[in-house]
């Protein structure tokens, strides 16, 4: 096929794509996000819509709880016998004509992919939406090697064109509304290929058509495609990608060369295990009974699809997660994003505040582990993530593979404080010790309560405490910035009970 290229592939050198490096700790990043009224409205609408859809399709399955248990059990079996299943996968992929590569970290994985692309003599690739390649920052690695990487997932393309960061696992542009998307298309499409049609409106159908026209040029000219994978079957060597748009299938079938970057935890042992996950995943993520496109391929097939298939198996901290007996549950994750969609904290602050490609509750437990919290000290941003939760448990309730996210969060908090792997919070530690001292003996608690009762004469008028200056107040200042606090009562329960014999001798 001779492809005529009427539009420039890139009219100017692309700047590096933004990354999460240098993001402030969660509370600070959240403050910025909370002040963006448009962002909060976009997030609220999107999460509430998808939440309701998920609930409806989950409620219609009588065996949902058994499916969840099965999903967790299959993943636990994979994690318990990971080396064996990985070697089995390598053998079956190789037997089917594919090439398997092993990458210990992001640098190794990026180098492998760059070498493969260079070996085929091209300077651009098309990409299927993939969390693993986001995690290793592959696009910038390719860019440094002079290779342009075009995201073809609609939402991922919006993020890329807008020089933005993803804020959701499944819908990385969830923080953008239609008008903002239209503006990005109009301003940016023409700089990297076919421009947006003149007079583009913000109607979803028009936006989709603009994306279709723009992407078609990319699909028809690309010789190499790069994907992630939702599942890989150890016994058959089959890799599976689940998607909604069909753009992934274009990448999987048109180019000559396919490179798949796969986290080592993405395995399932047997073909029939897909039965469980292909029910759990679409219902949990998009709230659909079945996703529109499920693509599976086993090595290479003459005259059908890519002629070269490379599978890059990525560790990048996963072995360290696996070493932790409690935290390793996080490796069951199938990236459905149900926990994000039900999370009340995510709904208010969005994904960028988590400072990682993995936002929301799963990000709060996975990112710190991938950054080594199970083994060593971490920086302040990482240390803020396990506290980015009220422990309300909505995530655990929604998780299709039963990851006990609240339990891992409190464990990570213990790693940060008891084991001292986070920045030292001397004031908090002293306060906790003081409270602990008071709780050590009932008389000490009584003493503290008398002090609290006395303080009501100082702080509380009309039984409540209004705004306390932040500088003076410490925790009380942070509390009363937006909420009143009750003044301590004149008498504790314990004093009342002693004085009146539990109310029997009350005057």
């Amino acid at each position: 096929m001779t492809s005529v290229q009427p539009y420039p592939r890139a009219v100017e050198p692309r700047p590096p794509e933004p990354t999460f490096l240098g993001m402030p700790p969660f509370p600070e990043a959240a403050r910025t996000a909370l002040s963006d009224a448009q962002l909060r409205a976009n997030l609220r609408k999107a999460t509430h819509t998808i939440r309701a859809r998920r609930q409806a399709v989950v409620d219609e399955l009588p065996d949902w709880e058994r499916l969840r248990a099965a999903g967790a059990a299959i993943k636990d079996d994979v994690l318990a016998h990971l080396p064996r299943y990985l070697e089995q996968l390598e053998a079956s992929v190789t037997a089917a004509g594919g090439t398997v590569h092993w990458a210990r970290d992001a640098d190794e994985a990026n180098a492998i992919v760059v070498d493969i692309v260079r070996a085929h003599g091209v300077d651009e690739v098309v990409k299927i939406k993939s969390m693993a390649t986001q995690e290793i920052d592959l696009n910038n690695a390719l860019g440094r090697a002079g290779i342009a990487a075009w995201e073809t997932d609609l939402a991922e393309m919006i993020v890329q064109l807008g020089h933005d960061l993803p804020s959701h696992l499944l819908v990385p542009a969830i923080h953008k509304n239609r008008r903002e998307i239209r503006d990005v298309f109009v301003a940016e499409m023409g700089r990297v290929g076919r421009p947006a049609p003149a007079g583009l409106t913000e109607r979803p159908a028009d936006l989709a058509e603009a994306a279709r026209l723009h992407l078609r040029e990319k699909f028809l000219s690309a010789k190499v495609a790069i994907s992630g994978g939702n599942f890989a079957v150890a016994e058959t060597g089959t890799v599976c990608v689940v998607e909604s748009e069909g753009n992934g299938r274009m990448c999987l079938t048109l180019p000559d060369v396919l490179v798949t970057v796969l986290g080592i935890e993405k395995l399932v042992p047997r073909w029939e295990d897909l039965e469980v996950f292909l029910q759990l995943l679409p219902r949990s993520s998009t709230g659909e009974r079945m996703n529109p496109y499920t693509s599976m391929w086993t090595g290479v097939t003459d005259g059908d699809g890519p002629r070269h298939f490379h599978l890059v198996l990525l560790d990048n901290g996963r072995s360290d997660v696996l070493a932790d007996p409690v935290g390793r549950q996080a490796l069951r994750c199938i990236r459905c994003s149900a926990c994000l969609n039900v999370c009340p904290v995510y709904e208010r602050v969005g994904g960028h505040a988590y400072g990682s490609v993995y936002p929301g509750p799963i990000g709060a437990i996975l990112t710190p582990q991938l950054r080594g919290l199970n083994q060593h000290d971490v920086d302040a941003q990482t240390a803020s993530l396990p506290y980015a939760s009220t422990l309300c448990g909505a995530c655990f309730e929604a998780c299709p593979v039963l990851i006990d996210i609240p339990q891992i969060l409190t464990r990570q908090r213990a790693q940060l404080t008891d084991l001292g792997r986070g920045p030292a919070h001397h004031a908090e530690k002293a306060a906790m010790r003081a409270v602990d001292w008071a709780f050590g003996q009932p008389w000490r608690l009584g003493l503290a309560q008398h002090a609290a009762s006395f303080s009501r004469h100082v702080v509380g008028r009309k039984g409540r405490i209004g705004k306390v200056p932040r500088l003076l107040g410490g925790p009380l200042g942070r509390w009363t910035a937006a909420r009143d606090a009750p003044a301590p009562p004149s008498e504790s329960f314990r004093s009342w009970h002693k004085r009146t014999a539990g109310g029997l001798e009350e005057p």
Binding site: P386, Y387, A388, T410, D436, A438, G440, H497, G503
Partner: protein, 261 residues
Amino acid sequence: MRIALFITCFNDTMFPETGKSVVRLLRRLGHEVDFPYAQTCCGQMHFNTGYRNEARGIARSFVETFAPYDAVVTPSGSCAAMVREQYPVLVGGAAPATAAGFAEAVGAVAPRVYELSEFLVDVLRVRDVGASFPHTVAYHPTCHSLRSLGVGDRPLRLLRAVRGLRLVALPRADECCGFGGTFAVKNAETSAAMGRDKAAAVLESGAQVLCAGDNSCLMHIGGVMSRQHAGVRVMHLADILASTGPHPELDTFPSGDLAAR
């Protein structure tokens, strides 16, 4: 049956009326409840903030204090959940020399700890506790009572049997209020944003009184509503169930019907 009241450190210090309500309510139902003075706290704040070693010490004295009782009743869903769900986790990290004894004590005491509505419905098997509260009430299911303990509709069944009480539905009831213990100060802005959304739902419900099984969440939501001069009161479930007549001070607020209109 020997019944102990675990008041919780928070209620003991900040909300003694709720403890008095539990004592009066159970007395009205014919049960004297002991208050062992050796009790202090369940250790939840320490556990949830990452101070497991301190939490373990507090848990040890908790199970020692309450070992002699057949049932422990507490007016807090999150403290009951701490004992029943997290004490076994603390057993896992205990020093080998003392782990066996601690595990045994936790195994004996933890299952006998009940949140108030569980105790009334499952242990005493009552629904109508003889209360009267002629006001409009919305019930907020706190996260730990809803998702950790699974108290289900027990509080609602109790409230529906209260004379004169008009129960209204709280929109988006199962959404967290944003308190979250130390989250309320570590992530104060996010916590307050969630609290304001919860307060908006309360106003939407048209209730005069918001009721829940945890004073901690109520202090947060109530603090937001007080700052907004919203005119809605917060009351613990125990305080409503102990009530035997109208609360005149509530008449100073517009009735739920008016607010909804």
